[in-house]
């Protein structure tokens, strides 16, 4: 028993989730599962349905069809319970610019029914966590965009929620602020929080998240581990090979092989795209060696999340 990996506990589950706005369908039967402790990346083009999904999970929007459960609570029939366990940060969040930082957090602490005696300590703790302790007496209107985003994150954390729904939390931030924000999120994951984050900065999601979902036109295209996303593409792997001597002959050899989809010369290397995802670099080695070419090196190009995203989606919106 000790060697067995425990079954993941589901934090969010949607089944056939749909939402229409008039004649426009924003979500079309979305089936999504997020496990507890996941740092879950939610990827999609503008208008793909990410924000609509997060708003439904935050109980702000009601679904037109299907069900959604958050930590066991239905978002429609048990919305109050859902609100107590989530922290929702919208992409465009209204801040009261004439409030002080502590006032703002104190107010939301009261909204979450944190007792007055406990609120001051909680406010200080979350300010410490997001690195805004020095700004506690400032008016929100005087904070930079990055600081306001951090304040938004502090607000989300004020009632110690188990699930964080973050819609584009890093949008508009400079590189340093983005990196710091991501570090905070990793810290929160270590504290046991489940985090769903939608973002356009895919390279960061690739390193940050353990699981991702790709959504297009309101439908789920992929959901699973970041490492597995590449296997989901229908296109073949990309191999980078270096040969000595007659490069033109090597090119000819590769182009006549039906298992190879494309070959181009790039910076002294041959960039070879295989015809199907089942094939690997051995195909290239075999073709070149049998044809008499002198193979110096062979390596597989790591497919980035951005490239996979581009291959899987067409950028279409509802």
């Amino acid at each position: 028993m000790s060697g067995e990996i425990p079954e993941p506990v589901v934090a969010v589950q949607t089944v056939g989730l749909s939402r229409t706005f008039g004649s426009t369908a924003a979500l079309l039967g979305l089936d999504l599962t997020v496990n507890q402790g996941d740092l879950f990346g939610f990827i999609g083009s503008n208008g793909a349905g990410k924000t609509t999904t997060l708003r439904i999970l935050a109980t702000f929007l009601s679904p037109s069809g299907g069900t959604a459960k958050v930590l066991g609570h239905d978002v429609v029939t048990d919305a109050d319970a859902v609100r107590n366990v989530i922290g929702y940060m919208p992409d465009f969040f209204g801040v009261y610019k004439d409030m002080e930082v502590t006032e703002y957090l104190d107010f939301f602490g009261a909204c979450y029914r944190i007792p007055g005696a406990q609120r001051e300590k909680t406010v200080n703790d979350v300010l410490e966590l997001v690195g805004l302790r020095e700004k506690r007496g400032f008016l929100i209107g005087a904070l930079s965009r990055g600081m306001q985003q951090r304040l938004g994150l502090a607000r989300v954390l004020i009632h110690d929620p188990r699930l964080l729904l973050l819609d584009e939390p890093a949008s508009g931030l400079d590189p340093r602020a983005r990196i710091e924000m991501m570090a905070i999120l990793q810290e929160l994951q270590k504290m046991g929080k489940t985090i769903i984050i939608s973002s356009h900065i895919l390279s960061e999601l690739q390193t940050l998240c353990n699981r991702v979902a790709i959504i297009e036109k309101g439908k789920l295209i992929y959901s699973g581990p970041v490492q597995g996303v590449r296997d989901h593409t229908t296109a073949g792997r990309t191999i980078r090979a270096k040969v000595a001597g007659d490069v033109e002959s090597a090119l000819l050899l590769l182009r006549t092989d039906t298992r190879i989809a494309a070959v181009v010369q790039e910076n002294g290397f041959l960039k070879i795209t295989l015809a199907s995802p089942e094939l690997d670099g051995s195909v290239v080695a075999e073709t070149l060696v049998r044809g008499g070419a002198r193979l110096l090196s062979l390596a597989e190009d790591e497919l980035g999340l951005e490239e996979v995203f581009m291959r899987l989606t067409r950028g279409e919106t509802q």
Partner: protein, 541 residues
């Protein structure tokens, strides 16, 4: 075409808007309906008499609509751009102040202009029926369009200097009421009390659209043509002066000020003063927050109740001035009753404005989305609103009721017989209706705040919904009784006014309450859903 590029762009955009066409159609439909109704009511009258009545009613309505158009159409057009941060983008190009001012004026006023223009052909009917001359027709059209231009120009100037939507809208309304109605009305009242006295504000009449309107009819125009054209020309010239001034100052007012709202900055100190910075203020705020978070949100500025009191102090100062200047002439039942009407008007307008403000702002800037994702319930939000409004208005309302009781007693002490009965009914009716109106406004204003596309229009919409239907119905019945010579006494009209007001308050109040309790969250989501067109709604799609 390089001339006035914003005007061309904005006209093109406005021409494509559905609202532009619907406004024009609605105005023409209302005008045709009223005309048809009057024609049917006055079927037995002489055609000339009928045409004069129709012409009088239609031109009066058109002039009033035009004179107040600035509040609705231009008051918040530049201030909204400044708040959104888009005004600066225009000035980063080669555009100059007058390009922007005239462009926004044209864009914002196209609906108003079309609305007025759609009524003009209907005015042609009385012309064809006889009894109305071509000169009257032309002058009245001119008066209405001139009033529209002046009103829109006032709105533009206020919008240039204001930042908050509330300041812009109420500022424009105040300026228009003062310029077009306040001074001439006060003067007329004072001169009316003593016909031998000289006019107190003789120049005040010149800018009043009502004055120009009255002079436009043949009977007065024949005797006072010069005054008519002077009044028309002065209003028109002043409108251009206002626009010129707006164009001049706008390039100096669009830039963001350097932030001084960091700790210790001027902005921060102002905010601290506004919210109250003493230990007792802090204790008070903490108490509010523990009681109801939304109550804290709407009441955290300690000076809020002071604004209502300030309005009463201003009113008291005007009253004291009148008493000092006119001595015993001031203290009579007419002044008392007018004081009561103004006090009730002020508290209703202020109440509607405050009841709709927070929800409208929160909905507009997205803060409501945050609040509704917390465990804060709709009932708690409504309860917070109630507590806040009670804190701000209960004191002033009790004070107004006390003053009105004193004025009421002073009135009935000097009246006997049927006059005494009349004043008792008028006073009691006014006081009771004010209280019931406030009850209806509490629900209607909040619902309007939640659903209005533009926050600044929420309070105006609620006031219109609560006050317009009974007054419109009463006006139609009044017109019918006057034109068909079957009018009743004041008792009939007073009873009808109370009855219509009660029914309307109950219906719209109950409707808004039901909507708030059952559809609050749905309405809060609505900003993200594309709006249906009228045809789609009618077709049930």
């Amino acid at each position: 075409m390089k001339f006035l590029p914003i005007v061309i762009r904005e006209l093109t955009v406005a021409a494509r808007r559905k609202a532009t066409h619907w406004t024009r159609m609605l105005s023409a439909t209302v005008a045709v309906a009223i005309t048809a109704w009057m024609l049917s009511v006055m079927a037995g009258s002489f055609p000339q008499e009928t045409s004069k009545a129709i012409f009088g009613v239609m031109t009066a309505m058109m002039t009033l609509y035009c004179a107040m158009a600035g509040v609705r159409f231009t008051a918040d057009c530049l201030s909204a751009e400044r708040r959104e941060g888009t005004l600066g983008l225009l000035f980063l190009t080669n555009l100059r102040g007058h390009d922007v001012v005239l462009g926004k004026l044209v864009a914002s006023s196209l609906d108003a202009f079309y609305g007025a223009l759609a009524i003009v052909p209907v005015l042609g009917l009385p012309l064809l029926m006889g009894g109305v001359t071509l000169g009257e027709f032309g002058r009245m059209s001119l008066v209405a369009l001139n009033a529209l231009f002046f009103s829109l120009a006032c709105g533009m100037l206020v919008s240039t200097v204001a930042r908050s939507a509330h300041v812009a809208v109420w500022g424009t309304l105040l300026v228009l009421i003062l310029v077009a109605g306040g001074l001439p009305a006060l003067d007329a009242y004072l001169v009316g009390k003593d016909p031998t006295s000289r006019s107190v504000f003789p120049w005040g009449y010149i800018l009043c659209p009502g004055y120009t309107y009255a002079l436009g009819f043949d009977a007065l125009y024949r005797r006072s043509a010069w005054q008519f054209w002077t009044s028309l020309g002065a209003t028109h010239a002043l409108a251009w002066v206002l626009l010129g001034f707006a164009s001049l100052i706008l390039p100096r007012m669009w830039q963001d000020r350097p932030s001084s709202s960091g700790r210790g900055g001027v902005g921060h100190r102002i905010q601290l003063w506004l919210r109250g910075n003493s230990p007792s203020d802090a204790r008070f705020r903490r108490k509010l927050l523990d009681r109801n978070a939304y109550y804290w949100l709407t009441s955290r500025r300690h000076w809020k109740p002071a604004v209502a009191w300030f309005a009463l102090v201003v009113m008291a100062a005007i009253w004291a001035w009148g008493w000092h200047r006119f001595k015993s002439d001031w203290t009579n039942e007419g002044t008392y009753f007018m004081t009561g009407i103004i006090l009730n008007f002020i508290i209703r307008v202020a109440f509607a404005s405050e009841a709709s403000r927070q929800l409208a702002e929160d909905h507009h800037n997205g803060a409501l989305e945050l609040l509704l994702s917390t465990p804060l319930t709709v009932s708690e939000i409504l309860r917070g609103q109630y507590l806040s409004l009670r804190r701000i208005f209960l004191g002033p309302l009790v004070f107004i009721l006390l003053i009105e009781t004193v004025l009421f007693i002073a009135t009935i002490k000097t009246q006997y017989g049927s006059d005494r009965s009349m004043w008792i009914c008028l006073w009691l009716g006014m006081i009771v209706m004010t209280l019931i109106d406030l009850g209806a406004l509490f629900w209607v204003s909040q619902w309007m705040g939640l659903t209005a596309r533009q926050p600044n229009r929420a309070s105006a919409n609620s006031l219109a919904l609560v006050f317009f239907p009974p007054w419109a119905l009463l006006a139609l019945i009044g017109m019918a009784s006057v034109t068909s010579h079957t009018g009743g006494g004041w008792e009939t009209f007073f009873s009808m006014w109370c009855l219509f007001g009660l029914i309307n308050d109950f219906v719209v109040g109950a409707w808004a309450q039901m909507k708030l309790r059952e559809e609050f969250r749905t309405a809060a989501q609505r900003r993200y859903a594309p709006q249906k067109g009228l045809l789609e709604i009618l077709a049930g799609k």
